[in-house]
């Protein structure tokens, strides 16, 4: 199986040749890959080097925590990717963004109003959890829609707070 794996602006062609070999950009390497104790912690011996990483699924990408750094990694089946680019253009552009609570907590303030235009990075909601106030920000510019919470309200993890269209 061949994959196109992307980190930032760099694409890697990774082929899983068999259980003991992969190639990265056509360079074949010996690999011994194991999960530790059924956890998303993986040990990989690759051409003798020993690495351990914590790998979990993020919103759209895999998150790899390796040597104290975090890498958001996109993994695409090569064939799939080819089909997609044949379809042309970016998919899912301009889709609605739903601000979800990243944790259970208490809404301290809603910093925006419905139909307000917001910039990327602008604070939308302030949420208190674990004695800390946390600012939830807009991941992109847009217009605020459907505010579903009020200050003083308790929210559950992943509850939708408002949308940006």
């Amino acid at each position: 199986m061949k994959y196109i794996t992307t980190i930032g602006d760099t694409e890697y062609t990774v082929e899983v040749i068999d259980e003991r070999h992969i190639s990265i950009n056509d360079k074949v390497m010996e690999v011994d890959f194991e999960s530790i104790n059924g956890q998303p912690v993986y040990s990989m011996l690759i051409d003798g080097k020993s690495y351990e990483a914590y790998v979990y699924a993020g919103e759209e990408e895999w998150q790899v925590l390796l040597l104290g750094r975090q890498y958001p990694v996109k993994v695409e089946d090569e064939r799939e990717k080819r089909l997609k680019s044949a379809g042309g253009g970016k998919v899912q552009e301009g889709v609605e963004f739903h601000l979800k609570s990243p944790m259970p907590g208490l809404v301290v303030a809603v910093a925006v109003e419905e139909n307000q235009k917001v910039e990327k990075g602008q604070v939308l909601v302030i949420l208190e959890s674990m004695k800390m106030q946390n600012e939830l920000k807009a991941p992109r510019a847009g217009t605020v829609q459907r505010i579903k919470v009020k200050p003083g309200e308790s929210v559950e993890q992943r509850q939708t707070l408002l949308s940006v269209v």
Partner: protein, 503 residues
């Protein structure tokens, strides 16, 4: 010694105090909220009693219930830890009224140091330097402030008397610009707090947060155990502490120790306490406040002095003389503490909750971990996000940093995000290594690194391999997984209490 001590706290500090009880042969009592039935402090204590629902105000802040439990189970003392009820004068007084020893200072000392103005005036009277300024002199008019400003010296800060959070605050570098800044500060203060009064305070540049640990017994003996440097803070939360401070010398240590002892004596202080100072780049130091309790970061002092501060607290509360004299106190080597918080450094340090599914503590030479969590324990949003303190000792500061790096690399916590990567970046920071930092270091000079070319720890192709292999095997087996999960779920439904027990 006490026969039975109730620990009015939770988490790592409750466990820390329970350990001291165990080592002193004192029976121990834990109290817990509904969220903490399986917490480590409940498991380790000799007795444990439910306080109430998870929120602190219904559990760990219920002074009445706690004293009631202590009375019913015949505890002869209460240790408050830090936070919660530790610095509430009324709680200390209520313990005494109930005939139970409060392991801490007298209520009067808590009160004196708890009020900022009183504390400032008390220590000034005792000859302790404070940050120069006009606070405590009442409401002054612009002309008066302009006349006083040159005596304080520039740069200085204009601060709102009524408020905080930076509202009405202005930095002033010269007398010329001051009138305009006074005006705008007053307007902002007026609109924010309905009170336009302001005061002046010297701006301490390149300030380090240095604190002196003291111990005081009931017989008038007070000693200092050297300093801790707690300048590495984010949003006024300490994150890394070390002892000794790379900015201190023996002379300054002695001087600040003497001043700290004076400050403690000025309120007739008994038990363990900490005097916090700001130290500027010219080694002038200014009293900030006194914490009338055990500090989170007490282990770094324990590690370099060899003194068990919690055990000493109990002896003091029992009326014993201090075990040590000032001349017995010798610092050996260097200690660093990293606070491990359940928060995501790659996502604005947002708190992270969830069940810890796997964890591997760093161990081996020179490592100490104080923690209240374990694999299987659930991190809830009700309490503060600190889940562990990682403390290392080294013969030198350099060795301690290298050891901390090693320990951070070994530490695995799966199930919640932690700020371990933040600490790893700090230990790799050249300025931290050089001891060149002040309290604004994180805000002004530090950000989580983007993976950089050429760095030893930058391995994007390896990260790519990890993600691809995980994705590959998951895709290959997703069909089976779906089916298995479906069945499992239906099975789980059959099982009632037994499963709850086995969570």
């Amino acid at each position: 010694m006490f026969k039975k001590v109730l620990v009015a706290n939770r988490g790592e500090i409750a466990v820390r105090i329970l350990r001291a009880c165990r080592e002193l042969g004192i029976e121990s009592v834990a109290v817990f909220s509904e969220a903490d039935r399986n917490a480590l402090h409940v498991r380790y204590a000799d007795e444990a009693y439910l306080l109430g629902p998870a929120p602190s105000r219904e559990s760990y802040l219920r002074a009445d219930k706690i004293i009631d439990i202590a009375r019913k189970c015949s505890a002869d003392a209460i240790h408050p830890g830090y936070g919660f009820l530790a610095e509430r004068e009324a709680f200390a007084a209520a313990c005494i009224d109930a005939g139970i020893t409060f392991i801490g200072p007298k209520p009067s000392a808590i009160a004196a140091m708890g009020d900022k103005m009183t504390a400032r005036n008390t220590v000034i009277a005792a000859g302790v330097p404070v940050v120069p300024g006009t606070e405590g002199t009442g409401s002054l008019r612009d002309e008066e402030l302009l006349a006083l400003a040159p005596k304080i010296g520039f740069p200085l800060l204009i601060k709102a008397s009524a408020g905080g959070g930076g509202k009405g605050m202005r930095e002033v570098t010269s007398l010329e610009e001051m009138p305009a800044l006074l005006g705008s500060a007053r307007r902002e203060a007026e609109s924010a707090f309905g009170d336009g009064n302001v005061y002046l305070e010297k701006l301490v540049e390149g300030a380090r947060h240095i604190e002196i640990q003291i111990l005081a017994d009931q017989h008038g003996n007070v000693i200092s155990l050297g300093e801790r440097d707690c300048s590495i803070q984010r949003r006024h939360q300490k994150l890394i502490e070390e002892a000794p401070s790379p900015a201190m010398d023996e002379d300054l240590r002695r001087k600040m120790g003497e001043v700290a002892v004076k400050a403690a004596q000025s309120v007739d202080y008994v038990n363990a306490g900490t005097i916090e100072f700001l130290v500027d780049k010219d080694k002038n130091f200014y009293f900030l406040e006194m914490n009338t309790r055990l500090q989170v970061e007490h282990p770094v002092t324990e590690v370099v002095t060899g003194i068990d501060i919690v055990a000493e607290q109990m002896r003091i509360a029992r009326g014993r003389q201090l075990t040590y004299k000032q001349e017995d106190i010798q610092l050996r080597g260097h200690a660093i503490e990293c606070r491990i918080n359940a928060e995501d450094p790659y996502n604005g340090f947002l708190p992270s909750t969830g069940r810890i599914t796997h964890s591997l503590l760093p161990t081996g030479p020179g490592i100490r971990v104080d923690t209240g969590v374990y694999p299987g324990f659930e991190i809830t949003p009700f309490y503060d996000p600190m889940i562990a303190k990682l403390i290392v000792w080294g013969e030198t500061r350099g060795q301690a940093i290298l050891r901390m790096r090693r320990a951070l690399e070994e530490y695995r916590i799966v199930g919640v995000r932690t700020n371990i990567p933040f600490h790893q970046s700090m230990m790799d920071s050249h300025r931290f290594m050089g001891g060149q930092y002040d309290t604004r270091f994180i805000e002004e000079r530090f950000s989580m690194p983007e993976p950089e070319e050429g760095s030893m720890t930058h391995r994007p192709e390896i990260a790519a391999a990890f993600a691809t292999l995980v994705a590959h095997y998951e895709a290959q087996h997703s069909a089976e997984f779906v089916m298995r999960n479906e069945r499992d779920t239906s099975n789980w439904k059959w099982v009632g209490r037994w499963e709850r027990m086995h969570r």
